[in-house]
């Protein structure tokens, strides 16, 4: 490990920027290019970089498989749940107009929430796939 000093330091420096950029892509997605899927991939890539440099066990210490599994289930639940919320508030399924006082705000809120669900699921699945590939033969 000691001979990877440059890699380790650079990874440590880059990590917060990668995660911050992921959050930017996530929450700026409705104004600029981006959205849940891209953000999830970037967020996952940050953790995968950490796992590649510091080893699988270190990464597992941060995010266990159970958390990830809950993450991808929760993401889908958020997406589908926002749809049901629209339904309960008197609109059709996935109708965001009724989520807030006026339709524009409602659409804004709805897309933000479901994209968060997408991001959560995609990031969890990306890291899980990395676990399965990197953990083979153990």
């Amino acid at each position: 490990m000691s001979d990877l000093l440059v890699l380790r330091i650079v990874t440590k420096i880059l990590m917060p920027f990668i995660l911050l950029f992921a959050l930017y892509v996530q929450f700026h997605g409705d104004y600029g290019p981006g959205g849940g899927f891209q953000a999830g991939v970037i967020f996952g890539a940050g953790f995968i970089l950490y796992g590649l440099v510091y080893g699988l066990d270190a990464l597992r210490g941060v995010l266990s498989s159970d958390i990830l599994r809950a993450g991808f289930a929760l993401g889908l639940l958020i997406f589908a749940g926002v749809g049901v919320a629209g339904l309960l508030l008197g609109g059709n399924y996935l109708d965001y107009n009724v989520l807030a006082s006026d339709p524009v705000k409602g659409q804004h809120l709805g897309i933000l929430l479901i994209e968060f669900g997408v991001g959560l699921t995609v990031a969890s699945v990306m890291i899980s796939i990395f676990y399965y590939f990197a953990g083979r033969g153990r």
């Binding site: 599994r69 749809g83 996935l94």
Partner: protein, 491 residues
């Protein structure tokens, strides 16, 4: 809430699937899945009732108007297929906990329920949606989920069977999405009803014909039409019995639905059967499926594989009915869709009961099964009789309507072939019955009936086989209604 039934039909299992992962516990996940499938069944009953009473239901997802947003469109055909899928799901699911313990690892059972519910979501979604691209997405959900379910089989070969299913299923899905893409290029819309309205105006140019070819071949792979059936026997043989029962009774039925929907609604009878000569090749392949697959079934050692080949043959009957391009033929095809789901479901569940006692499905290991597991074997025999088409069973009704339709369409040869191919079914069912009732069980053979939680679902399906063999107003009534709508100006 009644107005939201079309959305709830898909959303209930979709929400329950991730919830199964979150609750973790095996029993909790089971009860959640059980309540979900029963709720889905209730919703599909209400939908069918509503459609039969007041006509087509249209639901706009997200409140976006129809040709632009995704529309769920429920007519008699959709509602009928929804009823089959959710009904079989509701009957098969109580079977799973006992069956799973025997056939696969129990601790990850909550993941099984998640995959099962996702598969139900996908199949229901394909059946309910009125949007061509949405149909493709749901088809992918269902085939990925069924791939997981197949890979859970007790034998290691389940993994290769699942992998083959994945590859072939992906090829089929790719064909379908290419077809949808071409049709979108030609008409500029994805709403199936809108496509049907716009196609005559755009004219039947080469793009449309290519789209038609891609869609029909893709659907044929998905429904395992001979000679594109090669993935099916492996998948059904190595999957856990519960999964075989569910998939045999629903997945190929949804495939047939997609074929009917594209041939009759999207492209329309005129284009599909008058501009292009589609009827004859379909009829030829259907007859080949009936004979070749039944003959292969006769020579199988494994009872499960035999049933799988018999499924390929039965799909031949369904395609044969629709290839007659008459109201009677379509009715017969849809009635067989319903009845075959009942009989294959029952037969695979009986196999699941046997799996509770012994791991082998070879015919010689069925020796004396009539004494060792009398109730299970009686159910198997009754299901077999229905498969052959003995009067007073559901199978007789579908064969009867098929033969009448063939005669009405002035195809006496086809009618004769239906009767002859039924005789092949007599041979392969008899081989099992003979082993079970007329051979002595080996002295060390395991004996004892399967537990009630396995027998009751099996016998419910057998009872339905007999019930719908006598009282046919539900399947025949709905099928006729749907067939008239399909052969008329549109749904």
């Amino acid at each position: 809430m009644i107005a939201h039934l079309p959305a709830l039909q898909v959303v209930i299992p979709l929400l329950a699937a991730p919830a199964c992962i979150l609750v973790r516990g095996r029993d909790l996940a089971f009860w959640l899945a059980l309540v979900t499938t029963w709720a889905a069944f209730l919703v599909s009953c209400l939908l069918l009732d509503q459609v039969m009473a007041s006509g087509v239901i249209s639901y706009e997802l997200g409140g976006w108007a129809a040709p632009f947003g995704i529309e769920y469109r429920v007519d008699a055909l959709n509602a009928f297929v929804l009823l089959i899928v959710s009904g079989i799901g509701a009957v098969v699911l109580p079977f799973t906990p006992r069956s799973l313990l025997i056939e696969m690892v129990g601790e990850k059972a909550y993941l099984f329920y998640c995959a099962f519910l996702l598969c139900v979501t996908g199949l229901l979604g394909v059946a309910i949606t009125g949007d061509a691209f949405n149909l493709f997405v749901f088809m992918e959900i269902s085939s990925l989920a069924s791939c997981i379910l197949i890979s859970l089989g007790p034998h290691r070969r389940a993994l290769t069977a699942a992998f083959q299913y994945l590859i072939v299923g992906t090829i089929g899905a790719t064909f379908i999405v290419i077809g949808i893409g071409l049709i979108y290029g030609a008409t500029g819309t994805l709403n199936m009803n809108d496509i049907a309205e716009r196609l005559p105006q755009t004219g039947y140019n080469r793009t449309v014909i290519a789209a038609f070819a891609f869609l029909i071949v893709g659907a044929a792979i998905k429904l395992a039409l001979f000679p594109l059936h090669f993935w099916l026997p492996k998948a059904y043989t190595y999957a856990p019995s519960t999964v075989s029962a569910f998939l045999a009774a629903t997945a190929t039925k949804v495939g047939v639905y997609v074929l009917i929907r594209f041939l009759f609604t999207v492209f329309g009878v005129e284009f599909s059967f008058e501009v292009l000569p589609t009827a004859f090749p379909l009829m030829l392949l259907a007859v080949l499926a009936m004979f070749v697959a039944s003959t292969i079934a006769i020579f199988q050692d494994s009872v499960k594989r035999m049933l799988a080949y018999s499924s390929v043959a039965q799909i031949g009957y369904m395609v044969l009915g629709l290839s007659l391009v008459t109201v009677d033929g379509l009715t017969a095809s849809m009635v067989h869709l319903f009845n075959h789901a009942l009989m294959k479901g029952a037969l695979f569940l009986a196999i699941g009961c046997i799996a509770y006692r012994q791991a082998s499905f070879r015919i010689e290991d069925f020796a004396g099964m009539g004494k060792r597991m009398p109730w299970t074997m009686a159910a198997f025999t009754a299901g077999g009789l229905s498969l052959i088409g003995i009067p007073l069973t559901a199978g007789f009704i579908s064969k009867w309507y098929l033969i009448l339709a063939a005669l009405a369409a002035d195809e006496p040869l086809i009618a004769a072939l239906i009767v002859i191919s039924s005789l092949l079914a007599v041979i392969y069912v008899w081989r099992v019955v003979e082993a079970a009732y007329f051979r002595k069980p080996p002295p060390d053979a395991p004996a004892g009936e399967a537990p009630l939680s396995l027998l009751i679902p099996t016998w419910i399906l057998i009872a339905l086989n007999v019930y719908f063999g006598i009282e046919t107003s539900l399947p025949v009534g709905v099928a006729e209604h749907a067939a008239r709508a399909l052969m008329g100006a549109g749904p």
